[in-house]
């Protein structure tokens, strides 16, 4: 009966215009619709499938501002049992390392966890480093980019897929895994699931509750800072050549000029 913690993140909807705040170049969360990151829906789905097959409990964990409760509610309405929400003003502008440290402490508040499931990377930060950092901080094995997960008593087997190919991994529990796009198709929350989510326990914690000092976190204490940002320049129009019998050689000339042939 594995006890599973799923890491979720509320992100700006990829369909809305995403930008950085002009004041401090952090993500402008207010200007866009906020949704549960799609890869997290897959992480929750995987945890629920394991729970449905083997029993256990699914706890959702997020670090984010107050409105991130919407993302928690979505995960709970899909079928997760309870949630932990770390919400603290001083975390504004936190970098990935700080976030991983906060997550590690928060996971410590969940009793007897066997498995931590995360998405492989968020659609807003696209850092993709949290699962690895978390595994390091907790001293646990990391099995990332999973497209298939099997839990067998005290061990976990993962089929890992990246651009480089597939690898087959196995580790003893507890462990940290991250899932990729191909892992599953997340379910839609049912009407009863949505109504039931209202009554599920959500523990809200500040960094003080986790024994973290405000001087260790936030934008001022981040290892890196964004100094300047500009929208991506529009793609320049390509060069058009009308074929007057010499089209082939014009293409060849272009490729030679780019040192491609």
């Amino acid at each position: 009966m594995p006890n599973i913690v799923v890491l979720v993140k509320q992100v700006p909807d990829t369909y809305s215009e995403r930008k950085l705040a002009s004041a401090d170049h952090t993500l402008d969360r207010a200007s866009a619709d906020a949704v549960l990151d799609e890869i997290n829906e897959r992480a929750v789905e995987e945890a629920l499938q394991i729970k449905e097959a083997q029993g256990g409990e699914v706890t959702v964990l997020t670090v984010g501002p107050e409105r991130a409760t919407d993302a928690i509610r979505k995960a709970l309405s899909m079928g997760a049992d309870k949630a932990v929400h770390v919400s603290d003003e001083s975390l504004h502008g936190a970098d990935i390392i700080q976030t991983a440290k906060v997550l590690a402490k928060a996971i410590g508040t969940v009793e007897g966890y066997d498995l931590i499931i995360a998405g492989n990377e968020s659609t807003d930060g696209v850092g993709g480093a949290i699962p690895a950092m978390l595994a390091e901080l907790l001293g646990l094995p990391q099995l990332t980019h999973a497209r298939k997960v099997e839990i067998d008593g005290t061990s976990v087997k993962v089929e890992r897929e990246t651009d480089a190919g597939r690898t087959f991994l196995e580790a003893a529990l507890p462990a940290v895994i991250s899932v990729g796009e191909k892992i599953n198709d997340p379910r839609y929350p049912s009407f009863k699931g949505i109504m039931a989510a209202k009554k599920k326990p959500v523990t809200t914690l500040t960094i003080a509750d986790l024994g973290i000092d405000a001087s260790e976190v936030g934008l001022a204490n981040a290892a890196s800072q964004v100094l300047e940002s500009a929208p991506k320049p529009p793609r320049a129009a390509g060069q058009q050549i009308t074929d007057e019998g010499d089209g082939g050689s014009k293409i060849a000339e272009y490729l030679v000029s780019q040192k491609l042939i």
């Binding site: 509610r73 979505k74 839609y188 009407f191 949505i194």
Partner: protein, 294 residues
Amino acid sequence: MKFALSPEQAQFADTLDALLAKSDVARAWAAGDHEPGLAVWRHLADLGVTSVAQDGEPVDLVVAMEAVGFHALPGPAIETLAVLPGHTDGALLATVAIPPHVPYAVDAHVAERVFVLRNGVLFTGTPGQRISSVDPCRALFEVTPATEVGPLDGAFDRGVLACSAQLLGAGRALLARSVDYVKQRTQFGKPIGSFQAVKHQLASVHVGLELARPVVYGAALNAVPVSAAKIAAGDAAYRAARTALQVHGAIGYTVENDLSLWLSKVRALHTAWGTGSVHRARVMATLTRPAGPH
């Protein structure tokens, strides 16, 4: 009165939007291929949408029917969700005729349960001749009563409310498609939506729908008669359809353009479940009656 949806209702609406936006089943349904549509209905049943009238509040039903209207989902939605819950006996879809204002049963060839309601008494029904509808997604059937099931209260009013919500959703879809279209279609070197003659018409459609919405939700909460909701939503959606057709120009008349799915649906629903004059008479009756509940 508070008309804002609760976070749960908003999430329910988002879930239905996400699911139904991926379901392009209306054309197959109209052509007699019901399987893709039935698959969507099975998914909705799994999520508890078809039993929302029993498990939720009346507003939840309105949220569901608005989504059905917005996405032009075919099938006897009003009948299954609003009128007959508790009488489906595990069947996916059910349909009913309630003469005189609902003389025919919609999609009686697809629904596993067919009923007739006469003078407040429910009978199982035997489908007869098929009648053509302006909406190719709605197959209408004459039904003759067979076995008595028992009394069924409030069925017509529940159907009227659900029909109002469906019209509201369909009207919103027509407006959304029209606004998208007039921003893309150019004439005299500008998008046609930049011309006052076009944008004022669409603004009027928007105002009509916005004013109809609280009436529909108010009717769900029993604050206004369902007949008022039907008039408001029906007229607003019908105006949306007429305006959508006009701003789309000739392409809007074609069956190939998806606009036709909503145009024909709204034309059918505008007079289904009681015409405007029937409902105006009912509202009149509530106003002139001595004090009491609606």
